[in-house]
Symmetry: none
Subunit: 238 residues, 2 copies
DNA sequence: TAGTGGTCTAGACCACGGT
DNA sequence: CCGTGGTCTAGACCACTAG
C-alpha cells in the first residue's frame, strides 16, 4: 500500500467541499476568511488561499473582494451528460429499474455513430433501463457496447446498481470523452407509456457515445428524457 | 477615467498568451521555467507561478512535474454546443442575422443561473440572433452578459461576425467552461414564427452559462433550436 | 476604521524527471 | 546529480466593502 500524504490545502478544501455537498454549509453562507483559516488550521495565507481558490475554480464558492467567500447556489438537475453519470448528480432520490437485463444481441444498425471493426467482431451487450426521480419515471435509457475485454459482464450484478461504477471498479475502464446528438421529439406510444406521459409530449432524445480508455470499447446509448420537471444538466469545467 | 494598474503576473501571462496565439511559440515548446521567469522579470516564484497557473487553467500549457511548462497541441475542447453541420457539413452555408443588435438592457430575472454581485452592478448587454443553415432558420439565440471590462463592446462590430472571436481577439477573454440545462418544449407562437415552423413543433431549449477566464464575466444564453434536420452536436474530450 | 481578498517578496523543503 | 514544478512559511502593502 502506498502511503500518500495529502497536501494540507487539499485536506482543507475537501473538508469544506464535503460540508457544502452534505448541506452543512448552505448557499449564501460565508466560509471563514483567509485569516480565520490561518488561525484555525495553523497555516499561512498562501495555503488558505490555495484551498479557497480551488473551491472557487470548481464552482462551489464566489470570492468577493472586501467581503469574503460566499457559497454559491447550486441547482438540482440530473447531470446526465457529464461523465460522472446519473446517481451522483441527483442525490439519493433516484432509482433505476431494468426493462431488459444485460444480454447478448446482434449489433444494431447504428445510423449515427460508426462502429470499429474490432467492436463489431465481438458480441454486443445490450440492456435497457427506466430511471426514476422519486416515484416519477424521467428517462428511458438503452445501451449497447462490445463485449471486448468484459468477461462475465452479463452474469455479474452492477456494483451498487451503477453501470459506470462497475466498469470502473471491476474492469478499470474509465470514460474519457463523449459525443452526443440532441433532438427534441414527440413521445411515441412506447416511450410515453414507460414515462407515464401522454403520447405527443415533447421529450429530449439524446444519442450518445461514451469513449473509454480502452481501445475499441465505446458505450453507445439512446436516452429519452421527460425534461418537464427535471431538465438535463450538463457541466464542463476546465 | 480610472487608472487601473495591471498586475505583474497578468502582464507576463498575457505576453506568453499572445506569443502562443501569434505562433511565435509553438506546441511542444517549453516556456521558461519558474526560476528563469523570476530572473528575467525580477519577480518571485509566487508571481511567476500565478502567471503559469493561469495559462494552464486556460488550456494553453501543460505543466509537467520535473520537466517544465509545455505548450499544448490544440486548445482543449470544451464541448461547447455546436450545431452539427454548422461549420463543417454545411460548409460556408451558414448565416447569422441580428434580431436585436447589442445594446444595454436591465438585467433580466434569471430563473436558472444566479448572477454574481459584481456582474449585477455593471450594465447588462443583450443581443438576439437568428441562425440559418442554407435558407432554413434553425436556431434563435439570445445572450446576456455584464459590460464589466468590455469597453466599446456595443459600438464595435463583431470580428468576422463572430461573437466569441471578438471576445478572444479584442478582449483576450476565453471560455473556460459551461453549464447547460436542456429541455424539450413545444414552440410558442413567437419562436415558431422566427424558425418558420408550426406552433407546437418540438424544439430543444438550451439555457447556457459560459464561464470565462475573466472574473465576474459569464455569458448567459437562451437557445431555441429546431433539431428536426440539424440535431445539436456536443463533444467532450479529455 | 477594521476586516476582507488581491498582489507580492524572500526564503525553505520536497518529489519528480532526466543525466 | 541538478533543474523542474508542488507545497509551504512569514511576512508586507494595497484595494475594496461595510459600519
Amino acid at each position: 500500500m502506498i502511503q500518500e500524504k495529502e497536501p494540507r490545502y487539499l485536506q482543507i478544501k475537501n473538508t469544506y467541499k464535503r460540508n457544502i455537498l452534505k448541506g452543512k454549509i448552505n448557499p449564501g453562507d460565508y466560509l471563514p476568511s483567509e485569516n480565520e483559516l490561518c488561525k484555525k488550521y495553523s497555516i499561512t495565507r498562501t495555503t488558505a488561499r490555495k484551498a479557497l481558490e480551488d473551491l472557487q475554480k470548481e464552482g462551489y464558492i464566489e470570492r468577493i473582494h472586501g467581503k469574503g467567500s460566499k457559497v454559491k447556489e447550486r441547482r438540482q438537475s440530473l447531470g446526465l451528460l457529464n461523465v460522472k453519470g446519473f446517481s451522483e448528480a441527483a442525490g439519493n432520490n433516484v432509482r433505476t429499474e431494468f426493462i431488459v437485463k444485460p444480454k447478448n444481441v446482434v449489433w444494431p444498425n447504428s445510423t449515427i455513430f460508426s462502429i470499429s471493426e474490432v467492436e463489431s467482431k465481438n458480441p454486443c451487450i445490450h440492456f435497457k433501463r427506466l430511471r426514476f426521480v422519486g416515484k416519477a419515471p424521467v428517462m428511458v435509457e438503452e445501451n449497447w457496447f462490445s463485449q471486448h475485454g468484459l468477461k462475465d459482464f452479463i452474469d455479474t450484478p452492477f456494483i451498487e446498481g451503477s453501470f459506470f461504477k462497475t466498469l470502473s471498479q471491476k474492469y478499470l475502464i474509465e470514460i474519457i470523452g463523449s459525443e452526443q446528438e440532441l433532438r427534441a421529439e414527440l413521445a411515441n406510444q412506447n416511450i410515453a407509456s414507460k414515462l407515464k406521459i401522454k403520447e405527443g409530449t415533447p421529450i429530449l432524445h439524446i444519442s450518445i457515445k461514451f469513449i473509454t480508455n480502452k481501445q475499441d470499447l465505446n458505450i453507445y446509448g439512446e436516452l429519452f428524457c421527460n425534461t418537464e420537471k427535471y431538465p438535463i444538466g450538463n457541466q464542463y469545467i476546465l
